[in-house]
């Protein structure tokens, strides 16, 4: 997946409004055979979250322990680096979730 700095810039507003918001895990899985861009992060959990404002989101779960992988676990949206880019590429920041 090639990430464009223009896309990063265009999505800033969406991300600003989500950072720090809280929600609960609805569903989770652990990705063990990742796409190319995520090979160095695997295995990692992906969760569907229902935010406190009712909207649903999908994202990677970070800074977790095994007991956090359960429906109903409270999480918070945080800004993290999306993936490991090439040495000359722009850095893509993206929303991920961490357990509270």
């Amino acid at each position: 997946m090639k990430t464009s700095p223009v896309k990063l810039w265009r999505r800033q507003k969406d991300i600003i409004s989500v950072i720090g918001k809280r929600g609960k895990i609805l569903l989770w899985t652990i990705i063990r055979v990742p796409a190319k861009s995520f090979v160095d992060q695997a295995p990692y959990p992906v969760v569907i979250v229902r935010m406190d404002d009712g909207k649903k989101m999908v994202g990677q779960l970070v800074d977790y322990e095994k007991e956090n992988l359960v429906a109903g676990q409270k999480v918070q949206a945080v800004l993290r680096r999306l993936k490991t880019e090439g040495k000359e590429d722009a850095i893509y920041y993206h929303i991920k979730f961490k357990p509270l």
């Binding site: 997946m1 899985t29 652990i30 990705i31 796409a35 995520f38 999908v58």
Partner: protein, 386 residues
């Protein structure tokens, strides 16, 4: 509502599998010419060509695909490529039928084609994630990952365990062992599925359809003057859509695109789910078939996996036989080809030409073809007229 009778003149499929020495052009040529031979037609007698394919652009850096395929057909007819991820084949057929109903063309060839094994697993996993959304891709959710989330929701809601889901792959491998064109022709057990490595929890390797090459073709006509020995007609062709991302859906355990398209199809054909004798189901993952048989009305909600585990859809034992070809799991899943392969299989079943995997007295068949995690569904109902 249309008024044309759409008849299938001839069908053909290549073997599905890791066909290292066969190029995409050769796959297309084999399927198309075998289908034309089976139809008793020459290339120039086809009015148009419809091609279903998902990955030629992403993996092969080749778009303008229909123009390439028409070179292999050997007649410069109008040609179109349709794409809807894994529903590309079904969408190609639906649009071909629309062109016949519109009276624009009379006899057309529909090809489903995919060449995947020229590329690494990493590349393929990345390419298949194009069927989902940006949000899902950036969450690192692979295509199996999305279905894994559905599996968790389904297992939790209906109290189903992994062993019950595993029986779906077992059934399909049993069917595949009776299909000379299938990628996998060896039976497997529930224990084999449980032992296989995890791909995205709870889905394991043997819960997932493989990477495959293959092509399937069908010639259809609205020209009632062309007689065939064992006529099979397409009596319903419906498509429905739903959100691209899984997380935006109303339900995580049902595909409303399938529910909607199949309800329209049953209505169009004037039939009920119980009228179906044989069905080809889009089992990209074991969970997909469990959910599908419920969405198609073959099983009550929550009973799909259990019904399959009880052999209610197994050859020689069940009532509505699902995936006699071996399904995507055992027959293989060259993405764009699957939707057309399903039509080939149903046609053989309705003509009584399915050999060792013949469903007894099959009169009505249904093909269920899904794109992505359920963003689009194409449902076709076929009737044997012999």
């Amino acid at each position: 509502m249309y008024s044309m009778k759409i008849n299938i003149l001839g069908t053909a499929t290549t073997k599905f599998g890791e066909l290292w020495d066969v190029s995409p052009r050769e796959l297309a040529r084999e399927a198309m010419h075998d289908a034309l031979d089976a139809s008793g037609l020459k290339p120039f007698q086809v009015d148009a060509l419809f091609v279903g394919n998902m990955l030629s652009g992403i993996l092969g850096n080749q778009t303008n695909l229909a123009s390439l395929i028409v070179e292999e057909l050997g007649a410069q007819v109008p040609a179109f490529r349709l794409e809807g991820a894994c529903a590309s084949g079904g969408l190609a057929l639906h649009n071909a039928i629309n062109s016949l109903n519109a009276g624009k063309y009379k006899t057309v060839l529909v090809l489903g084609l995919e060449k995947m094994t020229d590329h690494s697993q990493d590349e393929i996993t990345s390419a298949l994630s194009a069927a989902g959304s940006d949000e899902e891709r950036m969450a690192g959710a692979t295509f199996p990952g999305i279905y894994a989330l559905m599996a968790q929701a389904y297992m939790r809601e209906y109290n189903i365990d992994e062993e019950t889901l595993a029986t779906i792959s077992v059934k399909n491998h049993y069917h595949g062992s009776l299909n000379p064109k299938a990628q996998f022709q060896s039976p497997i057990t529930v224990a084999d599925v449980m032992k296989s490595p995890k791909i995205a929890d709870p889905l394991k390797l043997l819960d997932c359809s493989p990477v495959s090459d293959g092509a399937s073709a069908v010639v259809i006509t609205s020209d009632s003057s062309i007689k065939t020995k064992k006529p099979v007609s397409i009596i319903a062709s419906e498509v429905a859509t739903d959100t691209l991302s899984l997380y935006n859906r109303k339900s995580f355990t049902s595909l409303s695109a399938v529910v909607n398209a199949s309800q329209k199809a049953y209505q169009e054909a004037g039939l009920k789910p119980t009228d179906v004798d044989v069905a080809e189901i889009h089992d990209c993952f074991s969970i997909s078939e469990a959910i599908a048989v419920e969405d198609l009305g073959f099983s009550k909600k929550g009973e799909g996996a259990k019904d399959i585990a009880k052999n209610k859809m197994t050859l020689f034992k069940g009532k509505i036989i699902c995936n006699p070809s071996g399904g995507l799991k055992a027959c293989g899943h060259p993405v764009g080809a699957t939707g057309i392969k399903q039509i080939v299989e149903i046609t053989e079943q309705l003509r009584g030409e399915a050999g060792k995997r013949q469903v007894k007295s099959a009169k009505i068949g249904l093909a269920h073809n899904v794109g992505g995690s359920g963003a689009v569904a194409a449902i076709h109902i076929l009737k044997g007229n012999s």
